[in-house]
Every structure is written in C-alpha cells, then in structure tokens.
C-alpha cells in the first residue's frame, strides 16, 4: 500500500521535473531566438554567453541555498545573508578607492574574479568552520554573519563618501548583479568550480535526505553529522562565492527559488529538490531576462528586478506560511 503511494508520488515528482525541464528549455530557446538583429553570429554568441552565465548562476544559487538550508535545518535562510554580499561590495569599493575608477576598470578580470572569490570563500569558511569545534548554534552563526554584514556596510559608506562622484559612479554598478558583461574566460573558471561543487552536492543527495531528518536522528542513523555538515558548507561557500564574483550579489534569488520549488514539487527528497530548484532558478532568470528585454525594454535591470520581486514574493510566502 505505502509502496504504491510512494511509487505514485515518485512518478508525480518526476513528471513535474520533466515538465520544468521542458519549460526551462523553452525559455532558453525563446531567449536565444526572439528579436535577433545585427551581426547574427556575434549576437547569438553574446546571448549564448549570457545564457550560460544565467544557467550557471541559477544552478549555483539554487543548489547552494538548498544545501545550506538542509544543513541548517531551516527553509527560510540563505547563505548570502552571511555578510558575503556586503563583503563583495566593500571589496569593490576599496578597490575603486585605492585605484580610482580608471584603475578599477583596468584590473585583469581573471585576477579580479579570483580575488573576490578568495575573499568571500575565506569569510564564509571563517564563519562555518567554528562549527567543527563548538556546539553548533545556528542563531549564533547567522547573527555573526549579519553583524559582519553591517560592519562591511559601515566601512563601505565611509569610502563612498570620500570618492568623487565619477569614481563613485563606476562603483555603483557593482551593487546589483548584472549578466550583460560576463567575460567568457570567467565563465569557464566559474563553471569549473560550480560543476565540481554541484556534482559533489548531487552525490551527497541521500546524505542530505538523512540530514534533513534533523541532527539527532541523523546522528542516530550513524552519520558523522558535524564533519558532513562542515564539508557540505565548504562547497556552499565556494558556490556562492563563485556566482557572486561572476555577476554580483543576488541576495534574494535563492530564497525565491527554493520557496517556489517547494510549492511546485512539494517534496523533501533531494534527488528531486536539487534539480527542481536548479530548473526553477533557470526559468526565473532566463524567463525574467527575456521578458525584460523584449516586453519591457529594461534589459540591464534583471538583477534589481529579481532582488525586488524575489524579496516581496519571499515575504508573501513566509507570511502565508506563518499564518497557517
């Protein structure tokens, strides 16, 4: 009896997953083909790079958020509230301050990417790794991250005041994510990191299912909880850092995507949840970009729109969930 029910659920989930994959392909095709003009070979190459960036960031954000939430046993937090976004903006501000806007523009993009990636991964590790020694306190870790975020933001505003308006103008583009000017070189670099981390997360999907049962149950089932959780968080840190260093901060994308995914597939099994979240992220990003570009004519603002809409949708879901 239960087996039949489970079987049915599985078929249903897989059906949904297939449907989402189809929608994702459809938006991808729409994005690549609508409104082509100019030098076709070049435009298609440009769109392909942008599509690849969106897929990469979508997958990285979705997978990192799901894993982070499972490890923290909480479905409403995201790795980017840990002060990583604030650190990213602070790093860019400090660079503009030290090198001027022109010097900032001249930094080798690969060096820049690696620098950002290293800074953010280090901070994330500094936050996550004390877990190994102490009794793990989620609130403590979260608040520490938030406090560091405020710290970086205070330092940023000081530098922002001292910059002249032109240098500041060079800087302000980094506050929001942008998919328009992604370097193909960086795509490869970020791609390698993302694919490696996602592959590890995928291999750990059953471990994640066990983790999701709660700390005590997981330990009871013979899982080395602390080591497993710490190891997974390292990959979360790498994923978030890679996507932020590639396009800029997207604090609410992960929240939005996971909330939506849960509504669509309604399961906690990571074999379904991970790909479903990744597909949702791709649909949101690529679909959003297509709509913005062709229907609304505001193609540069995807990052901002996702921030804004994502935040509101998340609040609504949280609110509706809280009232139930």
């Amino acid at each position: 009896m239960t087996e039949v029910v489970m079987q049915r659920a599985l078929v249903r989930h897989e059906g949904r997953l297939a449907m989402m994959a189809a929608v994702a392909v459809l938006v991808g095709v729409a994005f690549m083909t609508i409104g082509l003009r100019g030098n076709l070979a070049l435009v298609i190459e440009l769109r392909a790079v942008r599509l690849a960036a969106m897929v990469l960031v979508g997958v990285a954000v979705a997978v990192s958020t799901v894993v982070f939430q499972t490890v923290c046993a909480n479905r409403i937090i995201t790795p980017s509230i840990m002060g990583l976004d604030a650190l990213y903006v602070f790093c860019q501000t400090a660079l503009v301050f030290a090198l001027s806007g022109f010097g900032f523009a001249g930094i080798d993009p690969r060096l820049h990417f690696l620098g950002n990636f290293t800074a953010m991964t280090s901070l994330a590790l500094a936050l996550f790794l004390p877990m190994l020694r102490r009794r793990f306190d989620l609130t403590l870790m979260l608040l520490t991250g938030v406090v560091l975020g405020v710290l970086f933001r205070s330092l940023t505003t000081l530098l922002a005041r001292l910059l002249d308006p032109n240098d500041f103008a060079v800087l302000q583009g980094t506050v929001f994510a942008s998919f328009n000017a992604v370097e193909p070189d960086l795509l490869l670099l970020a791609g390698v990191i993302t694919v490696a981390c996602v592959a590890i997360a995928w291999r750990a999907r059953h471990v994640l299912d066990v983790l999701a049962l709660g700390t005590d149950t997981a330990i009871g089932l013979g899982l080395a909880w602390r080591a497993t959780a710490a190891r997974l968080l390292v990959f979360v840190a790498a994923l978030v850092s890679a996507s932020t260093a590639l396009v800029g901060p997207m604090a609410f994308l992960g929240l939005l995507v996971v909330s939506l995914t849960e509504r669509i597939v309604g399961t906690n099994r990571h074999a379904i949840l991970l790909p479903a979240a990744a597909l949702t992220a791709i649909i949101v990003l690529v679909g959003g970009q297509t709509v913005l570009q062709h229907a609304l004519g505001g193609e540069g603002s995807l990052g901002i729109v996702v921030e804004f809409v994502g935040g509101i949708v998340f609040l609504a879901i949280l609110f509706a969930g809280g009232r139930r």
């Binding site: 409403i76 937090i77 509230i81 102490r134 009794r135 306190d137 989620l138 609130t139 403590l140 979260l142 608040l143 520490t144 938030v146 406090v147 560091l148 405020v150 710290l151 933001r153 205070s154 330092l155 505003t157 000081l158 922002a160 005041r161 910059l163 308006p165 500041f168 103008a169 302000q172 506050v175 929001f176 604090a251 609410f252 929240l255 603002s301 901002i304 921030e307 804004f308 935040g311 509101i312 998340f314 609040l315 949280l318 609110f319 809280g322 009232r323």
Partner: protein, 326 residues
C-alpha cells in the same frame, strides 16, 4: 542578577555611570578643529561662542541620538518580543531613506525640516507594516523575526537604491544616511529634542510596555489596552529612528548593543533598565564620536563607521560570550 540585587550596590553603579557620562561630555566639549583651551573659557568670549555654536550642540546631539536610539532598540525588542531586532535591521531606516528620496524628488528645494517630516512618515509606515507582519509569524522560531526584518529592510532598501541609482542620487543618499555629527551646529539638531521627549514618554509608559512583552493574551488579561500600547510603541520607534536618520544618519548597533548589555546585569524590567539603556547608548555614541574626531584630525571619520566597527566587535563578544556561558 536582577534589578533587586542591583539595589544594594545601586548607588555605586549610578555614581560610576554618571561620572563616565560627565567625563565624556566634558571631553567632547574640548575636542574639535577650532582652538579651544579649557583655561580660556572664562577670559575669551570667542571660546564661549564656539562652545555654544558648535561643541555643545554636537555633544548634546550625540547624547540625545545615542540615548534615543538605544531606547528605540529596547522598545522595538519589546514589541517584537525578540532580543535581536533593532530599527536599522527591520526596515525603519530604509523606509526613512526612501522618504528622503521621495521628498527630494517631488520637491527638490524643500527645507531640511520637510525632508525630515517626509522621512518620519515613511519610517512610521514601514515600521508599522513590519510589526504588523512580524506579529503574525509563529513565535516558536525566535530568529524568524530578525530574519524577516532583514529581508523586509532589504526589499525596501533595494527599492530606494534602485531609484537613487537611476537618478544619479545614490552617493547623495549614502552620504546622507551615514551616521555622523560633523554637520551639527546650533539650529541643526534641535529636532532631536523631540526624540528626547519620546524617551521620556517611553519611560513614563515603561510598566505597560513591559506588560506588552508578555504577549497579547496575557497583557489583555492584565487589563492593558494592547492595541493602543502597540501603536504607541510603534510611534516611539519610528519617530526616533526617522528623526535621527534625518538629522545625523543611521548609526548601527546602538539599539542592539546597549539594551543587550544592560539586560545582562539589570534584568528585563523596563522601568529599571530604561535609564541604564539610555545612558549606555549616549555614552557609546559620544565616545565613538570623540574617537571619530580624533583619528584623522582635523578631518572626520563618521560616527556610523566607528560604531560599525566598535559595535560589531562588542556585539560579537556579547554573542560569543553568551554562547560559551550557556
């Protein structure tokens, strides 16, 4: 340790606290770019003039803003029934920024007072919505509320930043929002007295606010006008935040650090803790402002930046200290 046991040593505590505040007050009067020697005060009318125009207003502004922000944090924590919220992490400051931006756009020539009024209105609206929503969240998860506040503040902040970015006003907004007393002179801070009045109001209603923290049903059972008190608390928090944002900018952590430190040794009864929280906030802000005036003398480092660093360290010590005690 409760407020009761504090009583025996109460006088000593009060004396030390008052002496610290007084020392900071005097130091603040004599730290600045203009030349001013303590001895010259009696003989030199210029020195007295400088004190009256610049130093005293600045010192008072720091005291008022510090104590008011600490109280706003305390009241907000009482209303949200959560230790880790403060106005700047729950959308109030972001709403005020949005208000400044809107007034600047609609009416570019508006006097500072009008911009302040606009910011106060939006801050009130933003905070009301936050508390309305926060109260419907399940109380079983204590960090849901601060998290909700962060996302909520993030959304409003994103709207303000987006608008400012497109209008080439982002730097203007960021500078305005940096907490700092360098622009304070006689005639430029008096709005903060309104915040002081709200602190007095908070003290006057302290017992009822304490009841509020017991939750809706208990407090109504105790005969409290729950909705009315909630509204009053809201007005106190929003008005204080809006006034300080407009006059000096956002000063992070005061509302978080001062109440949390005080509650560790003085308990949760508002009537007992309130003066300590207010004094602690005032001393913290004043000390940070003096540091900010000195480290890059004769230039200024905004108090918001100093507190960003000092407050973060203090708060982390508080957090980590608490967890290792547990």
């Amino acid at each position: 340790m409760t407020a009761g046991s504090l009583g025996s040593q109460g006088f000593a505590y009060w004396a030390v606290g008052a002496a610290t505040l007084l020392a900071l007050f005097v130091a603040s009067l004599f730290v600045g770019v203009g030349e001013l020697a303590i001895g010259s005060l009696a003989s030199d009318p210029e020195a007295l003039r400088l004190i009256m125009i610049s130093r005293l207003p600045r010192t008072l502004a720091a005291l008022l803003a510090g104590s008011a922000l600490a109280i706003a944090g305390l009241v907000m924590q009482t209303l949200a029934r959560n230790r880790f919220v403060e106005p700047s992490t729950a959308g109030t400051a972001q709403s005020a920024a949005l208000g400044i931006l809107v007034v600047t756009l609609v009416w570019p020539d508006a006097a500072l007072g009008w911009k302040a009024a606009g910011a106060a209105v939006t801050a009130l609206a933003g905070t009301s919505i936050f508390l309305m929503l926060a109260h419907r969240l399940p109380p079983t998860q204590p960090f849901l509320v601060p998290l909700f506040g962060l996302v909520y503040g993030g959304v409003i902040g994103a709207a303000a930043i987006f608008a400012a970015w497109h209008l080439d006003l982002l730097q203007y907004l960021e500078v305005w929002m940096t907490g700092e007393f360098s622009g304070i002179l006689r005639g430029r801070y008096e709005l903060l007295w309104v915040a002081a009045a709200l602190v007095v109001l908070a003290w006057w209603t302290a017992d009822r606010l304490t009841m509020l923290s017991l939750g809706r049903d208990v407090s109504i059972g105790l005969g409290l006008n729950y909705a009315g008190m909630l509204r009053l608390g809201l007005v106190i928090v929003s008005a204080i935040t809006a006034l300080t944002v407009v006059v000096v900018g956002t000063i992070p952590f005061v509302g978080l650090v001062a109440p949390n430190i005080v509650s560790r040794f003085a308990g949760e009864n508002l009537r007992h803790t309130l003066p300590w929280v207010a004094g602690g906030g005032a001393a913290l802000v004043l000390a940070c402002d003096i540091i900010g005036r000195l480290i890059r003398f004769p230039y200024e480092v905004p108090v918001g930046t100093i507190l960003g660093v000092v407050g973060a360290v203090l708060f982390l010590v508080l957090l980590l200290g608490r967890s290792s005690n547990d």
